[in-house]
């Protein structure tokens, strides 16, 4: 039977051997589902997931013309992908198949009777069915690659990236600031000191790049903008000679950025003549030759506060020491290193070091060595005797930073930069299939401190990633993931809130930086976290195949069915839901009054979904995410925290208990703790009792629902959400209390306005002020205030009858 929505939904119940069939009254459940008008087909299968079951499933789908399938069995986290793949030949796409975990959320975790478990399963299945009914399937978006790959930024990784692309037969354009690669090598030590032994190989790479027919080299000025999305970018550079800006088309962009080396400060005695840093030492060797006398390398990274760079610095020092000793036998070279680190040499290199007479001297790092004229005083770690090391040239480790040039390019590319950190992007911990473009497109030591070899390797890897995508695109097989965000350009006002809170960097302005420019989403970068969609004040962002409308339909269907003491919950697939799955697998028993729905990130939950749950009959709502600071989409939990606080304020405005909604977190590996969380909340809601569904309360709940969809409220809420560059929740806000007072003020205003508008629209007749205030059970003053504003905004009209003002909603 068709449910009028053009979709036919089939439900398949799994017996799963001993694990579901004897514990749940499947026959009764099947009969109840078959009688439901929304369900076109219901069947019981021994094992839907095994080869015979899958064959039956496909057969049933094609025989009955089903367009949506719900399988009530076990973990969607593990088996949903297999079912989706198996149903592709039957014409069902990802998103059109859903799973209810009958085994681990219902059958295994309580001592209810089989009939009661069937009733619980029915509610969960109905919820999944309603969610699927609200689904609008979308076309799988194909991504095309237009134009060559642009390698920009001017870092040394440019050459390895270009080499890799050329070897894979992909055209590329190198945007460089100089034509002469000898110049690049001459100045390379400013970014990668002590790498002279590698220059031969680098020259080979450069020669290959020069000779390659796939590579075009352009000499440009600064990068000014990069717009478009994966497969189709427009890159603009300024002209180095001051001409008009130059625009290029590119299918992908690889940014190669080298970090900057800074000198140590005067607290290490740095003077630029005798006490110098690696870069200066290298420069000296280029211009004046190898110094004579006693050269002392001090690996002072521990004292400079960055012990993690000691390895890089000591490798560079070793390389320079080797060069000095092999060129000038009169030079004595000593390397002074912290005894906490080990000498970073291979066995062969150690032998070479001994042969060359390079002394590696450890010092006890707990006493800071002191620089004196001609001596460094240090503590011997073995004898604990204070010792002195004489020097004619003291060479210190450099300070490493991203550098201004790299930062300028990063800003144009929209890469986030946190003071004191490098450009390494925060990597969402999500499944590889959820990211279209797995490889980051950044290479070089501005990404994280590294040596030349590693920088070139990064370039090759980025290029290999891009080349694989390009090859797929050329075969016509490159598709964007299905559950990603899209912007409705007609609703987007270009406020940029989504871009600010997006952690994957997938949201970009349609053109150029700044201003009220509509945004769009790069489908190959978006990971489908969805907190951006939940934050959009105008509902312009939606998550394909996984929309807020679907989630609202799911909570509505479930909330309607829930008994007074039952609790609706959302569990994120990485935290709460996984913990619930594991509790079921372990056979732990807990309160069966919890009904858990699945979301892929708790941050996807729009406040309207939470409000809808209360409106439709839920008395308690529990949201269970990942452990704090471990959100797989970076800030989902923090953003939900803010949203839950919004709901708490509104519940209080309605006169309900604030404790009816709560945010919790669960580590998937600690199902016992998850159970404590659930039991604490469920018993709390049971204590509070149900919300009385009186006319008055329903009116308030409708007002609550309208308020969370109000653009102004969503704007103020959006302003308080944690931004990716903020270290801790709730971020660098203004005075917390002042913000809260302002927010509360906005909420109470908008709450009354929403209720006035709801009342006027439902009654279709003019109201007096006193009537309105009485109907809403509010004081006249705030109602008058909102009426005055709404009249001013033209939302409602005012007319006078018998000298008394009457208000009516304008259509």
């Amino acid at each position: 039977m068709d449910n009028g929505n053009g979709c036919k939904i089939g439900v398949f119940l799994c017996e799963c051997g001993r694990r579901i069939a004897p514990l749940v009254d499947l026959k009764g459940l099947q009969a109840k589902l078959a009688a439901d008008p929304e369900v076109a087909y219901a069947a019981i299968e021994p094992f839907t997931c095994l080869t015979p079951g899958l064959a039956t499933l496909r057969q049933a789908v094609s025989d009955n013309g089903l367009t949506r399938v719900v399988v009530a069995g076990c973990e969607a986290r593990i088996l949903l992908k297999k079912l989706e793949n198996e149903l592709v030949p039957a014409g069902l796409e990802e998103g059109q198949v859903d799973m209810v975990n009958l085994r681990d959320h219902v059958a295994q975790v309580s001592d209810l009777s089989p009939e009661e478990k069937a009733a619980k399963g029915f509610k969960l299945i109905k919820s999944a069915v309603s969610g699927l009914q609200a689904l609008t399937p979308t076309v799988h978006e194909k991504v095309e690659f237009k134009g060559p790959v642009m390698v920009l930024g001017g870092g040394i990784a440019t050459y390895s990236a270009a080499q890799e692309l050329s070897r894979r037969g992909i055209d590329s354009v190198l945007a460089v600031s100089t034509d002469e690669w000898e110049d690049e090598i001459r100045m390379l030590h400013e970014h990668y000191p002590g790498e002279r032994h590698y220059y031969g190989r680098l020259q080979e790479i450069m020669k290959e790049v020069d000779a390659s027919p796939h590579i075009r080299r352009i000499t440009v000025g600064e990068l000014t903008s990069l717009t478009g999305r994966t497969g189709n970018y427009q890159v603009t550079f300024s002209d180095p000679l001051g001409g008009p800006p130059r625009m290029y088309e590119a299918s992908a962009a690889i940014a190669c950025l080298d970090g900057q080396m800074l000198n140590q400060g005067s607290n290490f005695g740095h003077d630029g003549r005798n006490v110098i840093c690696h870069t200066e030492a290298e420069e000296m060797m280029w211009t004046l030759g190898v110094p004579e006398g006693k050269v002392l390398f001090w690996i002072n990274d521990y004292e400079a506060g960055h012990p993690e760079y000691a390895y890089l610095s000591s490798r560079a020092a070793w390389s320079m020491a080797r060069y000095m000793r092999s060129r000038s036998p009169l030079t004595q070279v000593t390397i002074l290193y912290n005894h906490q680190m080990s000498i970073p040499l291979s066995t062969g290199e150690r032998a070479a070091s001994r042969q060359l007479g390079i002394a590696w001297v450890p010092y006890d790092g707990s006493l800071r060595p002191t620089v004196q004229t001609g001596y460094v005083t240090y503590c011997d770690p073995v004898s604990h005797v204070e010792s002195e090391m004489p020097w004619d040239k003291l060479i210190l480790s450099p300070r490493r930073s991203v550098g201004h040039e790299a930062l300028k390019v990063a800003a144009v590319l929209g890469l986030e930069h946190v003071e004191g950190h490098f450009l390494e992007q925060h990597k969402q911990r999500v499944r590889p299939e959820m990211v279209g473009r797995a490889e980051t497109i950044l290479a070089g030591s501005a990404r994280y401190p590294c040596d030349l070899h590693e920088a070139l390797r990064q370039g090759r890897r980025a290029a290999a990633g891009v080349a694989e995508m390009a090859a797929k695109a050329a075969r016509g097989e490159l598709y964007a993931p299905r559950m990603i965000c899209v912007v409705d350009a007609s609703k987007c006002i270009g406020c940029g809130l989504c871009k600010e809170i997006c952690d994957c960097g997938g949201i970009e302005p349609v053109e150029g930086p700044g201003g009220n420019i509509p945004r769009h989403v790069d489908p190959m970068v978006c990971t489908g976290g969805g907190t951006c969609a939940a934050a959009c004040p105008y509902h312009a962002l939606t998550q394909l195949n996984n929309t807020t409308a679907q989630r609202e339909a799911r909570v509505a269907a479930l909330a309607k069915e829930l008994a007074a003491d039952e609790v609706l919950a959302f569990g994120c697939a990485w935290g709460g839901l996984a913990a619930a799955d594991n509790a079921g697998v372990k056979g732990l028993k807990y309160d069966p009054r919890l009904y858990m729905l699945r979301v892929s990130c708790i941050g996807q939950l729009d406040p309207s979904v939470m409000a809808r749950a209360f409106l439709e009959g839920a008395n308690g709502l529990l949201l269970i995410g990942c452990p704090p600071e471990d959100c797989h989409h970076s800030y989902g939990l923090d953003h939900t925290w803010s949203r839950v606080n919004l709901l708490k304020k509104l519940l209080a405005l309605c006169g309900f208990d604030r404790r009816r909604i709560a945010l919790a977190h669960a580590d998937l590996n600690e199902p016992e703790e998850y159970i404590r969380t659930v039991e604490a909340f469920v018993s709390q809601v049971a204590e509070l009792g149900p919300i009385e569904r009186s006319q008055e309360n329903l009116e308030k709940l409708r007002g609550l629902y309208s308020t969370v969809n109000n653009a102004r409220v969503r704007w103020v809420l959006g302003a308080s959400l944690r931004r990716p560059w903020e270290d801790v929740y709730p971020g660098n806000q203004r005075n917390a209390l002042i913000f809260d007072r302002d927010f509360m003020g906005v909420l109470s205003e908008e709450f009354i306005r929403a209720r006035v508008a709801n009342l006027l629209s439902s009654e279709h007749r003019p109201f007096q002020l006193s009537e309105l205030a009485a109907a809403l059970k509010e004081d006249e003053a705030p109602v008058m205030e909102s009426l005055r504003e709404m009249v001013g905004e033209g939302i409602i009209g005012r007319m006078h009858k018998d000298g008394v003002a009457h208000y009516v909603l304008r259509s």
Partner: protein, 201 residues
């Protein structure tokens, strides 16, 4: 269509079904440990052995990987099969004495102690590799594998250090038949970051 009998019951199978698929389709239970529906069968644990009889000859095969064939006579809990399962369980009890799941399964077969030497009383892992197969085939992250060889074999990330390839989805923990992955999980995903104060990571 293939006709065969399982425990004397006449059943029909399609080409491509394994004996385990066929038995489960007809509600006949066969215990498994290393088998999971989401991944390819592997035949590591041998708990799913069944007896194939041909005249007075008989042999034991792993039902999770053995394809259904025309005319097979299959016994899933004959004396021979149960004997083998008891042997396997006794060996597993010595290998992973701490696993509650293995103890429960052994008790079902009447095995409560083991005659083999117990080397590590806290061990839970049976090295079936299900976790690494799920990680490779379902999650497609390939973050864990078995590391080392012979008696040194164990489950973990490369070099037994937390790896970036792990997305901490916990699928390995959920599918683990012995509960062993639970204690190994933190060594793969790394402990969750804890923010102590502003700026301190």
């Amino acid at each position: 269509m293939l006709n065969l009998t399982i425990d004397g019951k006449k059943v029909e199978a399609q080409p491509g079904w394994t004996l385990l698929d066929t038995a489960r389709q007809y509600g006949i239970e066969i215990p498994t440990l290393c088998f999971h529906e989401a991944v390819e069968p592997f035949g590591a644990c041998r708990m799913c052995v069944v007896e194939l009889k041909q005249g007075d000859r008989s042999r034991l095969v792993a039902s999770c990987v053995y394809p259904a064939e025309e005319g097979l006579e299959v016994y899933t809990s004959s004396e021979k099969v149960n004997n083998v399962r008891r042997w396997i369980l006794e060996m597993l009890l010595s290998e992973c004495p701490a696993s509650k799941e293995i103890q429960a399964l052994a008790a079902e077969y009447g095995v409560t102690s083991t005659r083999f030497a117990v080397h590590n009383p806290d061990e839970q892992c049976i090295l079936c590799g299900l976790c690494s197969r799920v990680c490779a085939q379902v999650v497609k992250a390939s973050a864990i594998s078995t590391v080392g060889r012979g008696v040194h074999k164990q489950v973990g990330a490369p070099y037994l250090t937390p790896t970036d390839a792990c997305v901490a989805c916990g699928c390995c923990v959920t599918v683990c038949p012995t509960g062993a992955m639970r204690s190994r999980f933190d060594a793969v995903r790394g402990l969750p970051k804890v923010v102590l104060a502003h700026g301190a990571r």
